[in-house]
């Protein structure tokens, strides 16, 4: 019978937040004869903390929702049947783990283990084939930037390589600022060597001599793992390329909390110690970038793709659809059963991702927001759409960095759009008038609408101003800021109309347009709601004082008889619905 070879505990940020730290301590305290290692994330965040038991026969058993208590730990060490974790066959069929093949499966801090799993073989291959052939291969692969814009990585590198007799800079954009996207964090935490191998290959191919990683300061674990990896790479002299006399400089720069710095010219300004404001392009950074040196900026996931591409270009191009090759990692969050990360070939349908992989219930979802606050929403009727750069654009949304927020039937689309604008109007850098003032005016209008003070003309105003902000803004932040409003207007116009004409929130979410009421025939006067109410809005005869109520839903959730619910403002149970 196979014996235990090693215990692996998923200890990326999401695992740690779910309690992986206690699990690690519990296993380590036992002084086992085999190693207990902290790995990264395998993408199944909903099942965290996850423990993988590696056996001597090469197979593995996974356990989910592991607690650090004695019973649970002993159960796992005895290879018990309880809490075993498996991935459904339907999901496995859709998934294609290329970039995330090693994520969560190896010790992120162990260079030898990365090497033993094929790590740095693509770098060696790059040295063999020479820089020009690397760029040719990147072009042939069709890899498009995974940060959102979808520009050809091979072409960008080609522009930089063509610059002669100058110092050249390469920047890794790790300023993952889209709320709802966390694939870059996961890659940096789980496979930092793979991201760095991609960067080394890029630097070799383009002749760059200085590398920056611009990472959000909110990702301390990612920064820690990258630092360890950089130290080990420098120690092994992997940053000294054949034929070069000077080793490559790799520096991590911590961002300081500005969403707009994800835009490349803003990022460069920030790296120069200035306010992170974008500038007009051209000149493009590959002509004039950091401190005027030619600069190429690529996203974390793009770099993590590079070793995979070079290992086998044909295998890469065989995946996805023409013009959208390879795989994409999506971050699933919101109203679904299995939030987490998933890597699928480009071109699978939204229905595949939302229902089959995400486990969302058919009929319970009304839309999905792609690409974060810069993206748009796509209604459930369009879930047959293929997920690639071009198909989503046709629907008024974008792939963006790959965040997918699933929006359930009980959410208000107007409120959701208002929220995204709240984010973008605050993140506007203030350079372009349409973005600075326009997003503010749009936001104020949305606030008015959800507060029940909207007028029918507001809808036309939003549409008109949205188009103008698109045209009048220099960078992608402004150009895409109206997307959430424009796309919800396109598909959920009736919800806006209900708010402004009937003063009614169909989802009964907006506090100003809904009340909380008790259905007296169902109520058993158990007083649980009254005790649970944080603001004392429920009287002793179980009536809700809606002027005090903050619509926190505590009573609705706690009621054993489901007697409490949201109703249209000013209506009790008799006249509602």
């Amino acid at each position: 019978m196979a014996e235990i070879k090693r215990i692996k505990i998923g200890a990326a940020s999401c695992g740690l937040a779910a309690g992986a730290g206690e699990v690690v301590t519990a296993f380590r305290a036992l002084d086992l004869s085999y190693p207990v290692v902290e790995t990264g994330c395998i993408g199944h965040c909903y099942a965290e903390p996850i423990v993988e038991v590696e056996l001597t026969d090469g197979s593995s058993i996974f356990y989910s929702h592991v607690k650090g208590d004695e019973k649970n730990v002993n159960d796992i060490l005895a290879l018990g049947e309880e809490n075993r974790f498996t991935v459904s066959a339907e999901r496995q069929k859709l998934e294609k783990l290329m970039v995330t093949r090693l994520a969560g499966r190896i010790d992120p801090k162990d260079m030898e283990e990365y090497k033993a799993n094929g790590g740095f073989s693509s770098l060696a291959k790059a040295f063999e084939m020479g820089s020009e052939a690397v760029i040719e291969n990147m072009k042939k692969s069709g890899l498009r930037g995974r940060g959102g814009a979808g520009f050809s990585t091979g072409m960008k590198w080609g522009f930089l390589a063509a610059k002669k007799d100058t110092e050249k800079i390469m920047i890794c954009n790790a300023d993952e600022g889209d709320p709802g996207a966390f694939m870059d964090r996961s890659l940096m935490e789980s496979v930092p060597f793979q991201v760095l191998e991609g960067m080394l290959i890029g630097a070799f191919a383009t002749g760059a001599s200085r590398l920056f990683i611009y990472c959000r300061a909110e990702y301390p674990l990612a920064i820690k793992h990258l630092k360890i990896a950089i130290d080990k790479i420098c120690e092994a002299k992997l940053n000294l390329f054949p034929g070069r006399d000077k080793a490559l400089e790799i520096v991590i720069k911590e961002g300081a909390g500005a969403f707009v710095c994800g835009e490349e010219t803003a990022m460069i300004a920030s790296l120069e110690g200035r306010r992170g404001q974008p500038r007009f392009r051209p000149p493009f950074p590959t002509d004039r970038g950091w401190n005027s040196f030619p600069t190429s900026i690529n996203n974390v996931e793009t770099f993590a793709n590079v070793p995979v591409v070079l290992a086998d270009v044909d295998a890469f191009t065989a995946l996805g659809t023409p013009g959208n090759t390879g795989t994409k990692i999506f971050a699933l969050a919101g109203d679904l059963k299995y939030p987490g990360l998933v890597e699928v070939p480009m071109g699978v349908t939204l229905a595949d991702i939302v229902y089959t992989i995400g486990g969302a219930e058919k009929g319970a979802v009304k839309a999905v927001q792609t690409g974060g606050p810069s993206g748009g929403c796509i209604p459930a009727e369009e879930f047959g759409a293929r997920v690639d750069y071009d198909s989503l654009k046709a629907l008024g949304a974008i792939v963006g960095s790959g965040g997918l927020i699933i929006i359930g039937n009980d959410r208000c689309m107007v409120e959701t759009a208002r929220y995204f604008l709240d984010f973008t109007h605050r993140e506007s850098c203030g350079k372009c008038t349409f973005c600075r003032v326009g997003t503010m005016r749009m936001y104020e209008t949305m606030e008015r609408i959800v507060a029940g003070k909207g007028v029918p003309e507001d809808i036309d105003f939003l549409e008109d101003l949205g188009q103008k902000i698109r045209k009048g803004s220099l960078c992608a932040l402004g150009q895409t800021a109206p997307n959430p409003v424009l796309s919800t207007l396109r598909y959920f116009r009736h919800e806006y109309e209900a708010h402004v004409v009937d003063k009614y929130c169909p989802a009964k979410v907006c506090p100003a347009l809904s009340d909380v009421a008790v259905e007296e025939t169902k109520c058993i006067k158990c007083n649980l709601c009254r005790k649970g109410c944080p603001v004392g809005a429920i009287s002793s005869d179980i009536k809700v004082d809606n002027s005090k109520c903050t619509r926190c839903n505590s009573c609705i959730e706690i009621c054993p008889k489901k007697a409490i619910s949201r109703v249209k403002k000013g209506t009790g149970f008799d006249s509602s619905k």
Binding site: S13, A17, C45, S270, L271, V535
Partner: protein, 152 residues
Amino acid sequence: MDKSFSYLEELGSSRNELIKALQMIQNREGYVSDDGIRAAAEHFSLSAADVEGVLTFYAQFKRNKPGKYEINICDGTACHIKGAPLIQEWISAELGIKDGETTSDGVFSLCVVACLGCCSLAPVMAVNGKVYGQLDRKKLIKILNEYRKKEA
């Protein structure tokens, strides 16, 4: 230069390091004081206004002294949908402070931040970097009381 900022010397004098310098000051002091701004300006040969201009652009920097326990509430998309505004309201009601403020005893400060990257555990908050997920009111009050107990 003010001697207490002599650690800036290790950065060299290129303006490229300005943000790093401000981060170093904040890491040590918990915020960037007027003295910190003056020290950075002197070190990089910039005007204090220029330094303040850069500082105010970035959300990370604080000009007010934070509390001993810094509560960051995530208001990213997933957390917002799952009720982050309520978490904020509850904390405000419990501690009597709003976003960006510190309690009068200097124990807690509250800050609403963009995504913490733990969307699958929404709604989440972090206290001095330790992340608490799947919050509801009961859990939240329990966490706050634990920190209060430490101070009592």
